[in-house]
């Protein structure tokens, strides 16, 4: 693929991320696909972080391996990203040009693969303003020049980003222009990027979930802030007025999920969300929704655990927690979008599933998926709200929990005439009356359990077919879930290019697993499960469901997979010889 990767490195508070966003927007406005990566610490100031943007005229599915242009905002960044033994969780060292302030940074480690392009960033910036962040704009100008991209679209993006600040915008445009010109005057275009006239939409996974929620008719959101779930809350907070959404930060996550249950019970589509630690506090509420059969959508954005863990890093370590949330056996549906477009689509699906089957539905995301920016594909704003079976007013002998074949019973919401009934966290009969209030009836208990569980059987019958990638005649099969999809697909493309028959099963409906998966598991030389965690949580599910031997590739350093790193691991597994454990219970 013809792509370009740009990385901006600096300390927290240096404006790394806003510079990155301007660049991302500029690429997008030039009709290019983008995918970004944000490496940062749980720090307000200081430390070392960076932001990477990959862009191409073809679909870009991940942050990419390799590095073409580095903007180093301090010496540490310059040394760090030009070091062959770079220790940033799989990111590549620079093999391209470095743009940095040659006046300020003079004493750095030289690397032969790097073309050093110093630009007097600070000197240029100071001509316009004392704001130390202005030098970033100068560097961005130089970067745009190095890629042979026209200045005008870029200038418009700057104006837009600074628009609230009036003349500051022009200041920035002029400084950028001088950076642009300086590069043109002193160096030549490093890698020409072809721009295209077409409309591209790019968003973060958090915004996509938020937008999906609005599209699905969501009207209320309850939460308590927690990275990386907060970006969804933030989307709703800033769009509350526009989309008429009631957003409430409650005193804790327990309150949030209970309020969300109350609101859905009363008939208004409502979501709640948190990250792993806050979600742990919600788990009792999950069982409540399941028992009372109140539709509920919960957004669970993962970060590395256990406990507080790494608040600004990524991992897929919460699947066990989500599947195990709440005591007892009960039906639940877990969705795990594989990219940002999927995050939008599955959020829409989540609401209809929750309302159709009257159970808790989870959207599992992770910090990488929630916070990076990617071009949206196939966005369809059409949506039919399916609120599932509802009782008619004054319906006779109304049974809220009628034992039906599908397990689904008609809902009734407060305000409906003649349908007054009780919804109970205690085990209850078809009417909602508590089983153990007078004489416990073991039979009714059994029937109630089965009734609830039948909904999952019904759901499985109606599940969309499992998503696959280049599965044709594959000898080797990758199984992945969630945000590793982009890296996996790229590795498959490359290996197919090397004549290795490999394909993937991409699980975005992760619990319960679709039985159709077993069709793809047959006659494989190897099944390799790829997860961004240590223990292989999907792997365990797959094994228990399909009794298969698998290989496992895990990553648990807090970063997402990089395609080259993953390719190495997969090649390693393909070439590995090993004894398979053979135990059969036959």
């Amino acid at each position: 693929m013809d792509d370009v990767i740009v990385r901006i490195g600096g300390a927290a508070g240096d404006g790394v991320q806003s510079a990155g966003l301007i660049l991302t927007k500029t690429f997008s406005r030039n009709g290019l696909y983008v995918s970004t990566y944000n490496y940062y610490q749980s720090l307000i100031r200081g430390g070392q972080g960076w932001y990477q943007i990959r862009t191409s005229e073809e679909v870009v599915k991940n942050q990419g391996s390799g590095l073409d242009v580095l903007i180093a905002l301090n010496e540490d960044a310059l040394n760090r990203h030009t070091d062959e033994n770079i220790n940033e969780g799989g990111a590549s060292p620079l093999s391209g040009i470095a743009i940095f302030d040659g006046v300020m940074i003079t004493n750095y480690n030289k690397n032969s693969k790097v073309k050093y392009c110093p630009v007097p960033l600070r000197d240029i910036a100071l001509k316009y303003d004392k704001n130390p962040l202005l030098k970033n704009t100068v560097a961005l100008g130089a970067t745009i020049a190095s890629l042979g991209i026209g200045f005008d679209t870029f200038a418009n993006v700057i104006r837009e980003v600074f628009d609230k600040k009036g003349k500051i915008a022009e200041l920035n445009v002029n400084a950028a222009k001088e950076g642009y010109d300086y590069f043109m005057d002193n160096y030549s275009v490093y890698k020409k990027v072809k721009t295209i006239k077409r409309k591209m939409y790019a968003s973060t996974g958090g915004d996509a979930v938020g937008f999906g929620g609005i599209n699905a008719g969501m009207q209320m959101y309850f939460a308590y802030p927690m990275t990386p779930a907060s970006s969804v809350m933030q989307f709703f907070s800033t769009h509350a007025k526009k989309y008429n959404i009631f957003v409430k930060v409650t005193e804790d996550e327990i309150s949030a999920i209970n309020a969300a249950i109350g609101a859905n019970y009363a008939g208004v589509r409502t979501m709640t969300g948190s990250s792993g630690g806050g979600f742990a506090l919600m788990t009792e509420g999950v069982g409540l929704a399941a028992m009372t059969e109140v539709p509920l959508v919960v957004y669970e954005a993962q970060r590395p655990g256990p406990s507080t863990g790494l608040p600004t890093k990524t991992e897929q370590g919460d699947l066990n927690q989500v599947i195990g949330a709440g005591q007892g056996d009960f039906p639940r549906i877990v969705l795990a979008p594989g990219n940002i477009t999927d995050a939008f689509n599955l959020t829409k699906e989540a609401f209809n599933l929750a309302y159709k089957y009257q159970l808790p539905v989870f959207i599992m995301s992770d910090l990488y998926l929630a916070e990076h920016v990617e071009t949206l594909l196939n966005i369809d704003l059409d949506y039919i709200m399916d609120n599932g079976l509802m009782a008619r007013d004054n319906e006779e002998n109304y049974k809220r929990y009628e034992f039906t074949d599908s397990g689904i019973s008609k809902r009734a919401v407060p305000g409906q005439k003649g349908l007054m009934h009780n919804e109970d966290s205690d085990e209850h009969d078809e009417y909602g009356n508590v089983v153990s209030d007078q004489v416990t009836d073991p039979k009714i208990r059994m029937l109630s359990v089965e009734k609830r569980m039948r909904k999952i059987k019904e759901y499985i019958k109606n599940m969309p077919p499992t998503r696959t990638y280049k599965i044709e005649e594959a000898d080797y099969l990758i199984v992945q879930w969630g945000s590793t999809r982009g890296a996996v697909e790229e590795v498959i493309d490359k290996l197919r290019g090397e004549d290795i028959k490999i394909g993937a099963v991409e699980i975005d409906h992760i619990f319960p697993l679709n039985p159709d998966i077993k069709n793809y598991l047959k006659n494989k030389k190897k099944i390799i499960v790829v997860e961004n965690n240590y223990s292989g949580q999907l792997n365990r599910l797959l094994k228990s469901e399909f009794l298969i031997n698998t290989d496992f590739i895990g990553k648990y350093d807090g970063e997402a997979f990089y395609p080259d790193e993953l390719k190495n691991s997969i090649e390693g597994k393909i070439n590995e010889k090993y004894e398979k454990i053979k135990i059969r219970g036959e």
Partner: protein, 282 residues
């Protein structure tokens, strides 16, 4: 009141205070001409919390300690409903401590009544947050040493706009208080002195009949007067005040919020996205 009678007969022990609250709530709703379909009773877990089953209205019997956020979620979704939360002292003053405070502070327009029997009834007699010092209970064989929780001072400090205390042995007043609480626009709180003849042999009808009195002529808008009345307690006649301690007009959360104040979300169609709304992703 008959229209509020549920299909399931209450299973409380004979003499349990909850019977009185059941009557008071049913009577108040009936007298205020609220249709059963527009009333929601939501509760926690405890003997008291079994209430919703016994009333012919919409009932949501949720988790121990969590009825207040459920009630608020319902009210915020559909302001046309009369939402009444009902639970025990363990439920509200232990497990649900934080919710009571913050939702009272927010002044959400719900009515919250606590059956305060100074004991964990359903779990068979452990000390509750309102159990007096020295009291022998199942889990305090040598007497409770934890200072009791003062519910009225708690919600007053939180900023509740309606604060009252009732007594199961005085159903008439309890009904009146309940009616006022439901009518009040904002967070209405009623702590009810509710005998538990099974696990609390000390604070029964006799005890309260002797010690309680009805607040009269108190200035309901005087915070400190209310706060001081709330500290009265004892085993002598005229020791324990009941009635409305405090009632003021205060902005409800629903009125302060830009979205909720525009009208019932239940009645409002969700926003329909168009291509134009995608501009921000461009």
């Amino acid at each position: 009141m008959e229209s509020y009678k549920g299909k399931v007969a209450p299973d409380w022990c004979p003499g349990c205070g909850n019977f009185a609250q059941l009557r008071a709530i049913s009577a108040a709703l009936a007298e205020l001409n609220i249709e059963p379909e527009n009333a929601v009773i939501t509760s926690g877990i405890g003997c008291s919390s079994n209430m919703p089953e016994f009333i012919n209205a919409y009932g949501y019997h949720g988790l121990h300690g969590r009825l207040v956020p459920v009630a608020a979620g319902i009210k915020w979704a559909n302001p046309d409903l009369t939402v009444i939360g009902y639970g025990g002292d363990g439920d509200g003053y232990f497990e649900g401590t934080q919710h009571l405070y913050h939702f009272a502070k927010r002044n959400v327009d719900i009515t919250y009544m606590v059956s305060d029997n100074q004991v964990f009834g359903l779990t068979t007699g452990q000390a509750s947050p309102t159990t007096p010092i020295g009291r022998i209970t199942k889990n305090t064989p040598d007497g409770n040493i934890e200072p009791p929780f003062n519910p009225l001072q708690y919600v007053l400090t939180a900023g509740a706009s309606f604060v009252a205390r009732g007594f199961s042995g005085d159903i008439k007043t309890l009904t009146e208080i309940t009616k006022e609480a439901i009518k009040h626009k904002g967070f209405s709180f009623i702590d009810v002195l509710s005998p538990c003849p099974t696990y609390n042999k000390f604070n029964g009808y006799d005890f309260y009949r002797k010690t309680f009195y009805r607040l009269e002529g108190n200035n309901k808008e005087d915070f400190f007067e209310a706060y001081k009345h709330a500290s009265e307690w004892g085993d002598q006649p005229h020791s324990i005040p009941t009635g409305i301690f405090y009632e003021v007009n205060k902005t409800r959360y629903e009125d302060a919020d830009e979205v909720l104040s525009k009208g019932s979300l239940k009645k409002t169609a969700p926003y329909k996205l168009t291509e134009d709304d995608m501009a921000e992703f461009y």
